[in-house]
Amino acid sequence: MSDAAFDHTDVVPGKWRPVAEESRTTRIVLIAIALGGLALLVLAPLAVVFAEALAKGAWAAVKSLGSRDARSAIQLTLLVAAISVPVNAVFGIAAAWVITKFDFKGKAFLITLIDLPFSVSPVVAGLALVLLFGTNSLIGGWLVASGFPIIFALPGIVLASIFVTFPFVARELIPVMIEQGRAEEEAALTLGASGWRVFRTVTLPNIKWALLYGVLLCNARAMGEFGAVAVVSGKIRGQTATMPITIEMLYNEYLSVAAFSMAAVLALLALITLALKTALEWRHADQLAATRRH
C-alpha cells in the first residue's frame, strides 16, 4: 500500500481524485493479489478435479460411475440428504420461531448451544455418536439387540449429517426474522387467524428465500460430509459408504479416475449450489440482506 498523501503519480492534471479512495496503482495491485490468490487457492484445485477425472477420457469417467458400488454410494448420499435436510429445516424453523417471536430467559445460551456444532470437530462429533449409540453403550446395546443398529448403519450417518449441519437453517432464519419483527403476525392473530395459518400465510412468505438459502447450504454440507460420517459409517462397501467415503476408498486403492470422477460429480453439485445461491442473493437481496449482515 502506498502512502496516498504523497502518491500523485496517477493524478491526471485537471482531474482530481476522491480523497477517500486508494490510488489507482494500489487498487490494481490489491485486485491482482485478490484474484491471483483465489485462482491459486480455490480455482486450481477445482480444475484439477475435472482434469484428473477426464485423464483417461470421458468414457472411462462415466463407466466408473456406473459400477454397482458407485451407484449405491450415490443412492445412499441422496437418501441421507433427503432425510437430514428436511429434519434440519423443521428444526431451524422451530428454533428461529421460538427465538425471534418470544422473550425468555436463557435465550442467548440457547443460541450458543445451537451454534455448538460449529466449534466441534466432525471427528469428535462422530466419536460422541459412537459413544452414545455404539454397541458398547447402554442405549446402543439395547438398540442392536432389538434389531435397530444406529452405528455402522444408515441412522448413524443421518445423525452425523444432521449434527454437522445443525446450525445452518436456524442461523439464516434468525437475523431475517428479527428484522421483520412480530407486528405482522400479531395483526393476523388479532384478525382471528389460527397459529398455523399465521405461520403459513404471514411468516413463511417472508422467510421463504432465507429458508431456501439455508436449506441449500445445509444440503451441500450434508452430501459432502466426510469426517463425522467416516467415524460412524463403518465404511461397508455397497452399504454404508457414502460418496465422500467411496472417494477415499477408491483413492487409497489408486483408482484415480474412479475417485476423481465421483469427486467431479460432487464438485458439479457444489457449483450448482453456488450458482443457485448466487442467483438467490441477486434476486432476493432485500430479504437476505439481514442474513449477510449477520
Partner: protein, 281 residues
C-alpha cells in the same frame, strides 16, 4: 427452567411456543447434547488420571500441537487475505466482480474429501505445483506445508463473509473527514477503518480457526500422516477408534474440546474489548 419459560412465554399472544420449544430442545438433546454428554461421561468414567495419561504421551502432544499450531497459522493467513479480499470485493469495480464474489464461497460448497484429493494431486511431487516445488528443491504435500494449504482452503471464506458487509456499511464521510484533517490514505485505513473492521474480522478468524482445528477430510490425504510429524489430532481419534480404544479416543476428543473452547473464549474476550474500545459497531 421449563416452568419459568412457560410462564414468561404466556405473556405473549403468539402461538406455537410449546411446539417450537419442544422441537428445538428435543432435537438439540438427541443430536448434540446427549452425544457430547456421552463423550464427557466416558471421560469421567475413565477418570481424570486416565485422560491425562492418554493425552500426556509424546505422540498425542505432537498431534495436538501440530493441529492447533497450523490451524492458528491458517487462520492468521485467512484473516489477512480474507480482509483484503473483502475490501477488494466491497470497494472496487472490476469486470467479473460478482463472479469472483461467488467463487469465494467455493470452499464451503466443495466437500472436504474432494478438496483433499484435489490439493494432493496439485501439490504431490508429480502434481502441477508439487513439481515446481520439487524443481526448487522443496516438498509441499506430505509435509506441514501441505496441511497448512488444506487448512487455509477450508477456512478461506469465513473472514471475507463476516467483514464484507461491515465494509459496505461504512460511511464514506468518516474517511473524507479523516482525509480533510490531513491524514494520509494509509493512516486513515489503519486508524479509522481497521478498528471498525476488527470485531467482524475476529469473528471470522474464530470461525476459521475452529474449523481448521477440527478439519479432517481435506487434511488426511495431503498430510502423509507420519506419527510425530504430520499426524493431526482428529486422525489420532480415528486410529484409537479403529483399535476399539474408546477411552483413549474420548480422552483426545475431550482435550480437543477443552483447548478449542478456551481459545474461542479468549477470542470472544478480545472481541468484547475491541468493541468497547471503538464504542459500537
Amino acid at each position: 427452567m421449563a416452568l419459568a419459560l412457560r410462564s414468561q412465554a404466556q405473556k405473549s399472544p403468539m402461538p406455537g411456543f410449546r411446539l417450537g420449544m419442544g422441537i428445538t430442545l428435543t432435537m438439540l438433546s438427541v443430536i448434540v447434547l446427549l452425544p457430547i454428554g456421552a463423550l464427557l461421561a466416558q471421560g469421567i468414567s475413565y477418570g481424570p488420571a486416565g485422560v491425562w495419561n492418554t493425552v500426556n504421551t509424546p505422540r498425542v502432544w505432537a498431534a495436538l500441537y501440530l493441529s492447533f499450531r497450523l490451524a492458528f497459522f491458517a487462520a492468521v493467513f485467512n484473516l489477512i487475505f480474507g480482509t483484503l479480499l473483502a475490501w477488494v470485493l466491497a470497494r472496487y469495480e472490476f469486470p467479473g466482480r460478482r463472479l469472483v464474489d461467488a467463487v469465494v464461497d467455493l470452499p464451503f460448497a466443495l466437500p472436504t474429501a474432494v478438496a483433499g484429493i484435489a490439493l494432493t494431486a496439485l501439490y504431490a511431487p508429480n502434481g502441477v505445483f508439487g513439481s515446481l516445488a520439487k524443481a526448487a528443491g522443496g516438498k509441499i504435500a506430505y509435509t506441514e506445508w501441505g496441511i497448512l494449504i488444506a487448512l487455509i482452503f477450508v477456512g478461506l471464506p469465513f473472514v471475507t463473509r463476516t467483514v464484507q458487509p461491515v465494509i459496505a456499511e461504512i460511511e464514506r464521510e468518516v474517511e473524507e473527514a479523516s482525509a480533510t484533517l490531513g491524514a494520509s490514505r494509509f493512516y486513515t485505513l489503519r486508524r479509522v477503518i481497521l478498528p471498525m473492521l476488527l470485531p467482524a474480522a475476529l469473528t471470522g478468524f474464530a470461525l476459521s480457526l475452529a474449523r481448521a482445528v477440527g478439519e479432517y477430510g481435506s487434511v488426511i490425504f495431503i498430510a502423509g500422516n507420519l506419527p510425530m510429524k504430520t499426524e493431526i489430532a482428529p486422525l489420532l481419534i480415528v486410529i484409537k477408534l479403529e483399535e476399539f480404544d474408546y477411552n483413549g479416543a474420548a480422552a483426545i476428543g475431550i482435550a480437543m474440546l477443552l483447548i478449542s473452547f478456551s481459545m474461542l473464549l479468549v477470542i470472544n474476550l478480545i472481541q468484547i474489548w475491541s468493541r468497547r474500545r471503538i464504542g459500537h459497531v
